[in-house]
């Protein structure tokens, strides 16, 4: 191995090592636990103060907003189309910012942020974007069929 090649190799190893270390640091700082509402409620101490991505179902009738500030509640739900159980654990969410167009009540969402006491302070709200490979929205067919039947009767 000639000198130039050796220098290149040493440089490459140093850069790769530095990048790996920086990656580790970034991941430790920026990592968010992806959990559900039930996960949090069963072990709140574990997640207090940590970055979280909380998955839940928005509870109908809880969304209050002035266009910029939003308050709503997310609950553990069995999945799309499954009603929220009366005893399902719930967490209030506070969010300030632009809400995604697709956000609404009674839908699955992911909120990113941290717990502040009993409230989840979200820095980002993510909805399952009604994008490719999915239609207008999850309940559209059901709603349209019901509406057509009601119109006829």
């Amino acid at each position: 191995m000639n000198t130039a090649k050796m220098k290149l190799l040493v440089g490459g190893v140093l850069i790769a090592g530095g990048m790996t270390y920086l990656g580790y640091l970034s991941a430790s700082e920026a990592g968010q636990y992806a959990i559900g509402v039930t996960d949090y409620v069963t072990a709140p101490a574990r997640y207090q103060g940590k970055g979280l991505r909380l998955a839940g179902h928005t509870v109908p009738g809880t969304w209050q907003t002035d266009g910029r500030k939003h308050l709503f509640t997310v609950a553990a739900a069995g999945g799309p189309g499954v009603a929220i159980a009366p005893d399902a654990p719930m967490i209030p969410v506070r969010f300030e910012g632009t809400m995604p167009d697709t956000f609404k009540e009674d839908m699955d969402v992911i909120v990113a942020g941290r717990m502040d006491g009993e409230t989840f302070v979200a820095t980002e709200v993510m909805t399952q974007c009604a994008s490719k490979y999915q239609g207008v929205d999850g309940n559209y067919i059901e709603t349209a069929i019901k509406k057509a039947a009601a119109d006829r009767s």
Partner: protein, 792 residues
């Protein structure tokens, strides 16, 4: 719909279309087998059969796509896919583009593009690369067979509605409403016509270099021939993929209404990873071409690029990683994983058995050489890809680590987002920019001290001055209204590195121009005196250069005018340049002036300077991304009707709310007047659209674009007594104003990337024509590569 239409719809379309894709699948399998057989047995007739099979696959898939398009255009609701994607209110162009709006149709479209690339490659190379071509055909047929399998038996777009899964409810929907479900309103935009096809062409185009790479490995000919065969296909795919990614960002910026264009979502990352690796390949392949080095590395990169295109598809359609984009998690994911795995096995086997011929012919001689900087850039790009890969797969890795260390499942999944990606991306980008800048100014093998002094002094001086400018002037002028007093150190580092790249490009070009002028003055004089005209290359280059300059000029001067005005202006300047060049070419002059020398230098070294235009485009895009990300001003305010409020640079007045009924939707538009320094600047109509289908409104932002900054208005909320559920009070709107500097540089950089690559990759004139050009003044002055000999 006539009886004939119904007959065609109910019988011919599913039968003809469905049969076509199935036959295409079997023919692709046949093409694969017969091509390999023919290559091994050296049977020309079999090799020919393989090629014909590939052409037939293309024809059949084209027929299938036409059948499906017909069904979608005519709203033939006898097919499940049509009911899913089309509804009665959709206009013609969305019915056409809805072909790739869903999984099944997009896979068919993917297969057709792949077959088209295959057919084009076979036609272009019909008399070349005799030993490689049977294996190229076989590899392409393998990919086509896989796609054919998916479209024929797993994701059949020709499935009759009568055979559709009742649980999906399509049949019931049609019976009850007489209407289809229709394409999502978010996809009913003109971006849908251009962004997905660009990405598909980018992704799928890599099939050809991959096929040549497999062929080279099988035949043991990983040499110059292999490089020649793949170069243009790689450049085409790489530039179109890069452009497609940028179009996706533009789509998100204009349509999604959150003021950003990149969120490090798995879907975005999936398209970015192969582009990064391919960027490394298009550079390292030059080292192999010039110095016979990095053969194994190049093979690795091209194989990895292709595998990443399918891995990305697997990632987003398997459900393994959650994305904000809702992708299915059906059997396609498993099949894609199997396909990628099969390719990994074959590639690994071939690389292992051919490792001896993949050894380098030469070694790197000096750290300060072009090949060394290319190599570092390659490492940086691959490191970038690994970072994106790790970040994207972090939930999977972290969960696996948690399960192993704790022995339990769940709760260990950690997701990383922009705070993880952004700082790492910034560090790597700075390193890449510095290497790009150095690489342009050093020579192959090694660079002498004198050359270093000559080439680096001016760019480094310019960079130093810019550093002082960004550090001292920028915070006072540009950032006076920002909450922080000092410029962001990341921004300064990126901007200063970018200046170094641009200064390097300009300086290197200037040295080239001077060498053209001085080295060939005698020949030029003779040529000019003969009065002959410039070569067509010169005229074309003048036109293109003029258009680019015109567009750049128009972007600044006509910043407030509509896009078409700038396009027309750019085109007009281009035509004027063309005319001027034509007129000049007849004149009699003793020597070239700077501009003429500059154009001739470019024409004679098109590949090199086309590459520099691409570098310039990427650098401008990086500057745009940095400035718009770090120096964005974001404000929000709730207005009552008639209220004026200062936001950013403007006094914004809410003049009223307009409700407009249009087919399929209500449009709620806020009429905002914008005043700047007491004078009217313009008006804006940010709006929300409430669609009849579904209860999710869409945001239509109002964007005022200019060369220096974009003003981006979002209607976040609107209340008016005319809107059901609103209080009986004067109208109120919540408006968010974003002021993002230099966003247009990002888009312009993307255009330069595509244009520069096209210039670099455009086929050279044949040797015979070059000889003719030597006798004419236009092209003659500088023989191919002369400038490169004169300076690094």
């Amino acid at each position: 719909m006539t009886a004939l239409d119904r007959l065609l719809g109910s019988i011919l379309t599913p039968v003809l279309g469905g049969a076509s894709v199935k036959l295409a699948f079997f023919l692709a399998v046949f093409g694969l087998v017969i091509s390999i057989w023919g290559a091994v047995a050296r049977r020309e007739d079999m090799i020919r059969s393989g090629k014909r099979a590939a052409y037939a696959v293309w024809a059949l898939l084209l027929l299938a796509v036409l059948c499906l398009e017909r069904a979608m255009i005519r709203r033939d609701y006898s097919l499940e896919y049509v009911v899913e994607q089309i509804d009665n209110s959709m206009p013609l162009y969305y019915r056409i583009t809805a072909l790739w709006g869903g999984m099944n149709g997009s896979l068919l479209w993917w297969a057709l593009i792949c077959a088209s690339f295959t057919a084009a490659c076979l036609t272009v190379n019909r008399n070349r690369f005799k030993e490689l071509m049977p294996w190229v055909t076989a590899t392409c047929c393998y990919v086509l067979a896989f796609l054919g399998l998916l479209v024929s038996f797993v994701c059949d777009p020709f499935l009759p509605l009568s055979e559709s899964d009742p649980a999906l409810g399509f049949a019931q929907l049609l019976a009850q409403t007489g209407d289809g479900k229709g394409l999502n309103p978010l996809l009913q935009t003109y971006w849908m016509t251009i962004h997905p096809p660009s990405l598909y062409i980018g992704y799928i185009g890599f099939t050809i270099p991959f096929a040549f790479c497999i062929a080279a490995l099988v035949t043991g000919k990983v040499d110059q021939e292999f490089l020649r065969a793949t170069r243009r296909w790689t450049l085409l795919s790489w530039s179109v993929l890069g452009f497609g990614v940028m179009l996706g960002a533009k789509w998100a910026y204009e349509e999604l209404g959150w003021g950003g264009y990149w969120g490090w979502d798995p879907v975005e990352n999936a398209s970015f990873m192969p582009w990064l690796v391919a960027t490394g390949y298009v550079h390292s392949v030059i080292i192999q071409e010039k110095r016979g080095m990095l053969k194994g590395w190049n093979v690795f990169l091209i194989l990895l690029t292709f595998l990443l295109t399918y891995f990305g598809t697997f990632l987003t359609r398997s459900g393994i990683v959650q994305s904000v984009h809702a992708f299915g998690s059906g059997p396609v994911g498993g099949l894609l994983a199997g396909f990628v795995l099969s390719l990994i096995v074959v590639c690994t086997y071939l690389v292992v058995i051919r490792h001896k011929i993949l050894r380098a012919e030469n070694e790197i001689e000096a750290v300060l050489s072009r090949e060394a900087t290319f190599l570092y850039n390659n490492v940086g790009l691959l490191g970038f890809m690994v970072m994106v890969f790790v970040g994207t797969m972090f939930p999977v890795f972290s969960e696996a680590v948690y399960e192993i260390s704790n022995g339990s499942i769940g709760n260990g999944k950690v997701v990383v987002g922009p705070p993880f990606f952004n700082p790492l991306a910034a560090i790597i980008t700075i390193g890449l920019l510095i290497m790009m800048g150095i690489g342009q100014l050093v020579a192959w093998r090694k660079t002498s001290g004198a050359a270093v002094r000559r080439n680096f002094t001016v760019p480094l001086l310019v960079t130093g001055v810019s550093w002082i400018f960004f550090l001292v002037v920028l915070p006072k002028e540009q950032l006076a209204s920002l909450p922080f007093k000092f410029p962001n150190p990341w921004a300064v580092a990126v901007l200063v590195s970018s200046v170094f790249v641009i200064a390097g490009i300009v300086w290197e070009y200037w040295i080239g121009v001077r060498s053209v002028q001085s080295s060939h003055s005698q020949e030029i004089e003779t040529a000019w005196k003969s009065g002959t005209r410039f070569s067509p290359e010169f005229l074309i280059a003048s036109g293109i250069t003029g258009s680019i300059l015109g567009w750049g000029l128009a972007s600044v001067v006509l910043a407030t005018f509509p896009l078409w005005t700038r396009l027309v202006f750019g085109g007009a300047v281009g035509i004027a340049s063309l005319a001027a060049a034509g007129a000049l070419s007849g004149a009699s002059r003793p020597a070239f002036n700077v501009m003429q020398a500059a154009v001739i230098l470019f024409v004679r070294n098109r590949r090199r300077y086309g590459g520099y235009i691409t570098h310039l485009g990427i650098t401008l895009a990086i500057i745009g991304i940095t400035a718009s990300s770090l120096y964005k001003i974001d404000e929000s305010h709730t207005f009552t009707e008639g209220e004026t409020h200062k936001m950013g640079e403007f006094d914004l007045t809410f003049k009223g709310l307009e409700l407009r009924r249009e087919p399929g939707m209500w449009r709620v538009m806020a009429y905002m007047r914008m005043d700047k320094n007491g004078e009217k600047f313009g008006v804006a109509y940010p709006e929300r659209r409430h669609h009849d289908k579904g209860d999710q409104p869409t945001t239509e932002v109002s964007i005022h674009e200019s060369a220096l900054r974009d003003y981006y208005l979002i209607l976040e909320a609107a209340a008016d007594k005319r809107i059901p559920g609103s209080p009986d009070k004067p109208a109120t709107v919540t408006i968010r104003l974003l002021q993002s500097p230099l966003v247009t540089w990002f888009w312009f950089g993307g255009v330069l990337l595509l244009g520069g690559t096209a210039l670099a990759a455009w086929p050279e004139r044949k040797r015979k024509e070059v000889t003719v050009a030597v006798t004419s003044p236009g092209g003659v002055a500088v023989p191919e590569g002369a400038a490169a000999k004169e300076h690094p």
